[in-house]
């Protein structure tokens, strides 16, 4: 399965969905969909690195932990991320995000993401790959 992401509708908020050949690739794509809630990911340069280490009781809550960790780092360091690399062992995730400091003029950020919810939360194996999705509150 080719890695890709998409958004899906959820009333006032927005759903992020990543597809990939592996669970880790789907998590990476879901995070890219998160960036796309804020701005066009193609406008973000992969310059600075932030490391992540998350653990959860199961795969679905791990996705929420992962997206929340990305959201927190975006807010804390005023950053946007263009690229993600994730390794998952059991229900533990180690990863990196590459991005740059947010520029209001160049990125024209539409909205900040408040947090990842457990609404429409799904991490599952599909024919030929994985899907990882949830709704984020904006």
């Amino acid at each position: 399965m080719q890695s890709h992401w998409e958004h899906f509708d959820h009333g006032a908020d927005i759903g992020v969905r990543g597809f990939g050949a592996t669970e880790a690739a789907a998590f990476e794509q879901a995070a890219l969909a998160l960036t796309a809630v804020v701005t066009d990911p193609d406008t973000v340069r992969a310059m600075d690195r932030v490391d992540f280490d998350c653990e959860a009781p199961d795969a679905e809550l791990l996705l929420v932990h992962w997206l929340n960790a990305v959201i927190s780092q975006m807010a804390l360091h005023h950053m946007l991320f263009a690229r993600f690399q994730v390794q998952i062992h059991g229900h533990r995730l180690k990863g990196q995000a590459l991005g740059e400091t947010l520029s209001p003029t160049r990125h024209g950020p539409a909205v900040e993401v408040k947090g990842a919810t457990v609404t429409a939360l799904r991490v599952a194996r599909l024919a030929g790959g994985w899907v990882a999705q949830t709704v984020v509150d904006v």
Partner: protein, 476 residues
């Protein structure tokens, strides 16, 4: 929503009787047209809330209800701790104590029109708005602790407001029993530079004109007259509240089985009020309420500073400040008995009726001001709480227009530039750091706020006092 699943008790009152494990009925307050427009998920979520332990009377949905996470947005539910009741992070939401405050300016439309353009530009320059914006106030650990316990009272003590502001704020500007120790280091770090910032999304600061008065007596008590110019601020607890919401939602989802909670849906994540997790959440959530109150108080100070450069005599006294994402301990009469309840309002406004002792003396005869924000192209309303609202929904009313269209769809439907130009042609000057954000917040993406407040009044939750229309909008 399929009307066949509802029993119509009154023109704007619909009931879903208990079924499949519901402890109480679910009740929707809305006109037939609004109910038809509501997503089926509102019914599903209102019913799921009715299945939570310790819920009292009913699970309620306000006229602006829409699909939320766990609880519907526009949802109200009260829990009795002594009956195994729960507290839910999703039932409060991520933007804890998001709310609205409304300031008098003492000015008229003509005063604003004379300086509309430069006033819009100066407000935009001095009110930090949009993604990644930071304020001028940076807090160290001690100051953070004081802010999280002191709320607007802390801000006023630092000179960012007056004692009169506190009287016109819910909880008199300071939420008691806040526990900054239950707030994570990350949540505090996210807030360090965000005091006095508006945020983004549906948050805004508007200069508005009172265009219509519906209830002369209440308008008199509130100091509102046609032609008056007001300032309305809509924002919340910023990064701190978002982080607390995210962390506790996950903890509650993970720990629910430990507390013997068998939830119909994981998104209903909650904890017994009497559990350690429940108490930690309440302590952290109350700290976030104080953060939101302090934040709106600092923004008020910034607005006053800007107005003082153009209108040196303007004082901008506060009409009222309401929070619409909270869980508060309140005493309500249930079946003739006064009961202490944890009342969750997720996208719903407290609406105490006339005579309520919590209200300042000047407002007490009319009832609590209920501030209802609309979209930037339509209008906003000031309502007044009714005595009947307590029996209807623990003294609650609507909070806004509610979205009619997803952000995704709105982005495909409108261009930010044309939204800006259309509103300018109608005399509404909008300033925003993001054109895409404007497209997502286009007036057409929202429901008709007039229909929402009409239904709120018809249901008896609150009564219309005044309608306000924007002249300037600073959009985050």
């Amino acid at each position: 929503m399929d009307l066949r699943t509802l029993h119509r008790l009154a023109p704007c009152t619909w009931e879903m009787p208990p079924r499949d494990g519901m402890n109480v009925p679910a009740v929707v307050y809305a006109s037939e047209a609004l109910v038809r427009e509501m997503d089926e998920k509102v019914r599903e979520q209102a019913e799921n809330v009715a299945r939570l332990p310790g819920i009292v009377s009913a699970s309620y949905a306000m006229p602006d209800a829409h699909w939320g996470y766990g609880f519907p947005i526009g949802g109200v539910a009260a829990f009795d701790a002594e009956a195994g009741g729960v507290v839910s992070a999703g039932g409060v939401g991520f933007d804890i104590s998001c709310g609205v405050r409304c300031l008098h300016t003492g000015l008229k439309r003509a005063d604003i029109l004379a300086v509309q353009q430069p006033l819009a530009d100066t407000l935009f320059k001095h009110i930090p708005a949009g993604v990644g914006s930071t304020g001028a106030i940076h807090l160290n650990s001690e100051q953070m602790h004081d802010m999280l316990t002191g709320g607007a009272r802390w801000a006023v003590a630092h000179g960012w407001g007056t004692a009169a502001d506190l009287e016109r704020t819910e909880e008199h500007g300071q939420m008691p029993h806040a526990k900054p120790g239950c707030v994570s280091a990350l949540a505090k770090a996210r807030q360090r530079e965000e005091m006095g910032t508006l945020g983004s999304g549906n948050h805004y600061l508007e200069v508005q004109e009172v265009t219509e008065i519906f209830d002369t007596a209440a308008a008199g008590a509130f100091g509102l007259a046609a032609g008056d110019v007001m300032v309305m601020i809509h924002c919340g607890s910023r990064g701190l509240g978002h982080q607390i919401g995210s962390e506790f939602l996950l903890r509650m989802a993970a720990e629910a089985p430990v507390h013997g909670l068998h939830l119909p849906d994981r998104e209903l994540a909650c904890a017994p009020i009497h559990s350690q997790l429940g108490q930690e959440y309440l302590g952290a959530m109350r700290a976030a309420i104080n953060c939101a109150l302090a934040n709106r108080q600092i923004l008020t100070h910034l607005v006053r500073m800007v107005f003082s450069t153009r209108f040196p005599a303007a004082r901008l006294p506060l009409l009222y400040d309401v929070s619409h994402n909270t869980c508060k301990v309140e005493h309500h009469r249930v079946e003739g008995r006064l009961v202490e309840l944890h009342v969750h309002r997720k996208g719903a406004t407290r609406a105490f009726g006339p005579g309520h002792p919590e209200l300042p003396p000047a407002l007490r005869p009319a009832g609590q001001p209920v501030l209802v924000g609309g979209s930037m192209g339509t209008g906003s309303y000031v309502l007044a709480g009714n005595a009947s609202s307590e029996a209807l929904a623990f003294s609650s009313a609507c909070h806004g227009a509610g979205r009619a269209m997803s952000r995704h769809q709105a982005q495909k439907t409108w261009q930010g530039r044309s939204v800006l130009d259309d509103l300018a042609r109608r005399g509404i000057l909008v300033r925003s750091p993001s054109l895409r954000g404007l497209a997502e917040e286009a007036p057409g993406a929202y429901k008709d706020v007039a229909a929402v407040v009409d239904a709120t009044q018809a249901a008896g939750l609150a009564r219309k006092v005044a309608r306000l229309e924007p002249l300037i909008c600073i959009k985050g």
